[in-house]
Symmetry: C2
Subunit: 133 residues, 2 copies
DNA sequence: CAGTATCCGACGTGATACTG
DNA sequence: CAGTATCACGTCGGATACTG
């Protein structure tokens, strides 16, 4: 059979779309920077240069150990930070932005600037919409 | 008692952080544009001007009616698109970007360009990391 | 100090069916 | 044509406890 039901066609489109979204650079980057903690880690490191694990915990109030570790690991894997272990007692681990990480900082700041310049327009639209309902 | 346990202090920080994140313009904007469908709707409308609901479904393969409706409603609420209903048989609803929506398009394209220019560096870092493990 | 391990509840997403 | 309503599932993030 070369004919497909509507459901089958939609299912096929769905799979094709899923595959596309997974490799689409824009979506992958958005997933990266919109991660709940990544931009906060980037901002902390951008301002301070090098920070220890415990420094980062202090700089980012509210982050749990689990999420901070997980975030740092994925950022290391993506080449955004370097992780330097110093064998000592007590143990010491330093994190620093790579060049790629610093390049990404520029983009994040661009987004931040647009947000701060335009969020009021979104809020106004939202207020109007909610009032009209 | 003015003294707090570590757990109490952390819980307080947590709530303060939650409150901060909710109002932080950058996080709010990132949540908006990193929505799975928003950037796709913006791209579709940016290229075509005005589109009907069914056109959008066709332009964005894999979107369900539920998610498309939900996305369009939130975008209308945020002032990114206008929704124009034409009373007729069959019913007709047109969607178009607002000026704010077109401004946002510029930012999304900036992100897209950065992504396309730099995704290879991330992939390379990832490949190296995974190979070393 | 810098993590790791496990459990669990909330939320986002999609499938399916129905409507003005 | 353009939606709405309901259900089910998977993932993410947090709380808690333990370790080299």
């Amino acid at each position: 059979m070369t004919t497909l039901t509507a459901a089958q066609r939609r299912a096929r489109e769905q799979r094709a779309h899923e595959a596309f979204v997974k490799v689409c650079p824009t979506n992958r980057l958005l997933a990266l920077i919109s991660d709940k903690w990544v931009s906060l880690v980037v901002s902390a490191l951008a301002g301070r240069g090098t920070l220890r694990y415990s420094d980062l915990r202090r700089e980012i109030p509210g982050v749990s150990e689990k999420m901070l570790t997980q975030t740092l690991r994925s950022m290391e894997r993506d080449g955004l930070v370097t992780r330097t272990v110093t064998a000592a007692v007590p143990p010491r681990v330093d994190y620093e932005l790579t060049e790629l990480g610093r390049d990404l900082t520029g983009l994040i700041f661009t987004v931040r600037d647009w947000a701060e310049a335009n969020i009021a327009r979104i809020d106004a639209a939202r207020a109007g919409y909610d009032a009209a309902s």
